[in-house]
Amino acid sequence: MTVALRSVPLRVRRQLRTFLLVLGPGLVTAFADNDAGGITTYSLAGAQFGFGLMWVLLVTAIALVVTQELGARLALATGQGLAGLIRERFGVRWTAFAVFTMLVANLGTTVAEFAGVAAALGLFGVPRDLSAALSAAIVVLLLARGSFSRIQYAFVAIGAGVSIAYAVSASLAGPDWGRAARALVVPEITWTGAYFLTLVGVVGTTITPWGQALIQSYVADKGLGPRDLVPVRIDVALGSGLFTNLVAAFIIVACAVTIWANGGTIRDAADAARALGPLVGPSATTLFAIGLFAAALLGLGTVPLSSAYFACEAFGWEAGLHWRWREAPVFYGLLTFFVAAAGLFVVIPGLPLIDVMFLAQVLNGLLLPIILIFVMLLSREPRLGALRSGRVLYPLGWAITGLAAVMSITFVVSQLFAF
């Protein structure tokens, strides 16, 4: 009898473990996706255009699921990261180009994370140079001690908490849910430069070059194989499709009701915090600061690391935190460069933090098509076998890549004409 009693929870736990072993890459990537830049960009979208950009979320949700699934398939079939596959298929020169693109985009993102920390701690009156130094020290310490992989769940939990806070706050403000739902499906486009700029930012913060690299290395590192396609699919659909964009939608709605409806704008973090007002009143600033801080640290622990892995995988250099400095100089060099350069950048006096966070997402959006083209070209490789993208996924992927490219080119051209 006792045996039976004891074995029940054990069995349940084992099944859960098997499930979690496969499940996870998509969910973690999805959480990291709502980083400091994400929160800021969605807030700006809601504050400036109300429900006007909601429809973009529906499109990016589909696009994100498709692109993440394409990436996951590559990793499932080959066990390699994106960088390694690009190298094997396209040779050294194209790889150098892909790595350069990825590093530029990620450096922008890292700057945004530092700006996020600075903005969050700024709400408590902490000066920027101090917060930059502090966050750099925290990240270096956590990574060096190998405790980031454990502590990231704390950041994820805080992130989830703040996401729920946005949802509740949005409901308490009593938005017109009918209109919000309609805006999700029926585009209300404003034909202005600012609208288009924000659109690029929203796309760029949702579908990111580093997200493509991360999902792939995550799946590959877990040693998953072709037979894990179904759970990975569920994971990607839940994480990317549902979670990322649901949170984004609540942030936009909350900001639309509290800021846009009252004719306000977001100039600094304190303005953005007002969206949480309906829930916690005067404590909104504190709650927002904690959420932004956790999101930024989660990004800081992820993006520089994934950048260093990407470059090292491409060129065959030792990568990983278990190496010593002397054994993996490029890996640690890149990691240091990312943290130091981005940290120092944010210290520039008078730097508009909100703008920096937002523009980094625009940069990501502009560089995205380059990485997507590589992913698409790889997705038809014969070596993928049964995991080659088929009649639905392949054209859909190219359509998304095409749209992203058109978006980028239009933006660059319009900027050139503006000057």
């Binding site: 473990r17 066990g79 190298r87 050294v92 020169r93 190998g146 060129f315 065959g316 278990h322």
Partner: protein, 423 residues
């Protein structure tokens, strides 16, 4: 000493100087220390054409066909042939000397007795720079600082190719199996594990199919837990069961716990009765407890035995070295009564009962004890092993220091320490 990147894409001309195409690739049969170039793959306006390498003559800046292209016979590449550019360049290989996976930046070829042979894989910075045409510039820049660009070439006989035939998925598995992993099998199992972790799922399976059971079991024990489960799931059941039998029962049980239930039951079913029983016993415990990490292979001496009989018993059982640190004395029901060392046993007069020489004050833990507590006890009392008993005090197994050493070390140490061992 030409490099592949230097002669690939060179013009190929007919005897009369007429250009007919470019050198696309060179093929070798990967046998022997330094395989000879046997075929050339030419890219001509009408597609790829394979010719024998001897039909070409190398001249300065180009290759000249000995006969006109039309009269040069088409050659057939055998299935085991490796195309250097397609199958090796930019791919991962195993450097069996450094025991790690590296990426090929370039391939070094050399004229040996009038034969162009593949002599090494360039995995260094020079190779990368050469590929983007920046080697000489970089050389001059570094030269200004009074330094030299380091060379990173692995002699071919120390290389184990990993990938082959990217464009033939149906054939892939079969072809891969024809590449012998003989060099890999000579490495330390812990090194094999590190290398295997960097392979694709197919390659991992191929390696675990080929290694002898004992090496396979030892290597699998060193692989990261998450990947262990993936490997065992992909291997044919019979093979997986054979490897599991050969593993330490506690390691095998840990691994099985990460598998889906049906798969786990199937494998246990296929294992030999004896090993399966041990593993099933371990599976009944939570893997975070003493019962989950202990090994059931334990030396239990009945209390009535004399010293001489006990030594005979050990001769017959031939227990693993780490299980002879402590010998346990049990009564008729299997209850743990005391402990003695091998030394105690050897120095005692042959007719003495083990119950007289044993130390009755034996430190033991219950099967439910959290593994962290077990580690703490072992560390505190400087033990090499700790016996595990059930609720009625019967000896169920023992936790040796190597089962908990990972709990005592800071994270990342196990991986890192390997690099300190001189090769």
């Amino acid at each position: 000493m030409p490099y592949l990147s230097e002669i690939q894409h060179r013009r190929v001309i007919e005897p009369n100087g007429n250009e007919v195409g470019k050198l696309a690739d060179i093929a070798v049969v990967p046998q022997g220390q330094f395989p000879a170039a046997q075929w050339a793959i030419l890219s001509t306006p009408s597609g790829e054409k394979v010719v024998r390498w001897d039909d070409l003559a190398q001249e300065i800046g180009h290759f000249r066909l000995r006969n006109r292209l039309e009269t040069t016979p088409d050659a057939q590449l055998p299935a085991e042939a490796l195309r250097l550019a397609r199958d090796l360049l930019d791919k991962q290989i195993v450097d069996t000397h450094g025991a790690k996976v590296v990426r090929v930046n370039d391939l070094q070829l050399s004229d040996v007795d009038g034969q162009l042979r593949l002599v090494g894989a360039d995995v260094g910075l020079r190779g990368l720079l050469r590929r983007v045409g920046a080697e000489s510039v970089a050389e001059r820049v570094v030269g200004l600082a009074g330094r030299q660009l380091p060379r990173g070439i692995i002699p071919w006989h120390l290389v184990e190719p990993l990938e082959s035939k990217n464009d033939a998925p149906a054939k892939t598995a079969a072809v891969r199996l024809t590449i012998p992993h003989a060099k890999l099998a000579l490495l330390h199992p812990a090194d094999i594990a590190d290398i295997v972790e960097e392979m694709t799922a197919d390659e991992r399976i191929a390696v675990f199919q080929q290694l002898d059971i004992e090496t396979a079991a030892e290597a699998l024990q060193e692989v990261e837990p998450e990947m262990q489960a993936a490997i065992v799931s992909d291997l044919p059941e019979e093979r997986a069961a054979d490897i599991l039998e050969e593993m330490d029962p506690d390691e095998a049980a840990d691994l099985l716990q990460d598998l889906p239930e049906e798969r786990r039951d199937e494998l246990v079913e296929l294992m030999e009765k004896e090993e399966a029983k041990d593993v099933e016993e371990l599976l009944a415990h939570s893997e975070d407890s003493a019962g989950g990490i202990m090994t059931t292979d334990v030396v239990a001496l009945p209390r009535g035995l004399t010293a001489a009989q006990a030594i005979d018993e050990l001769r017959v059982k031939k227990p693993d070295p780490q299980l002879t640190y402590y010998l346990y004395v049990v009564d008729g029901e299997g209850k743990l009564e005391g402990v003695l060392s091998l030394r105690d046993l050897v120095v005692a007069p042959p007719e003495t009962k083990v119950s007289e020489i044993m130390d009755p004050h034996v430190l033991k833990v219950a099967a439910e004890t959290p593994k962290e507590d077990v580690a703490a006890l072992i560390a505190k009392y400087d033990l090499l092993a700790l016996p595990v008993v059930d609720a009625r005090g019967r000896l169920r197994g023992t936790v040796t220091v190597d089962d908990v050493v990972e709990l005592m070390l800071p994270r990342g140490w196990k991986k890192r320490s390997g690099r300190a061992i001189a090769r």
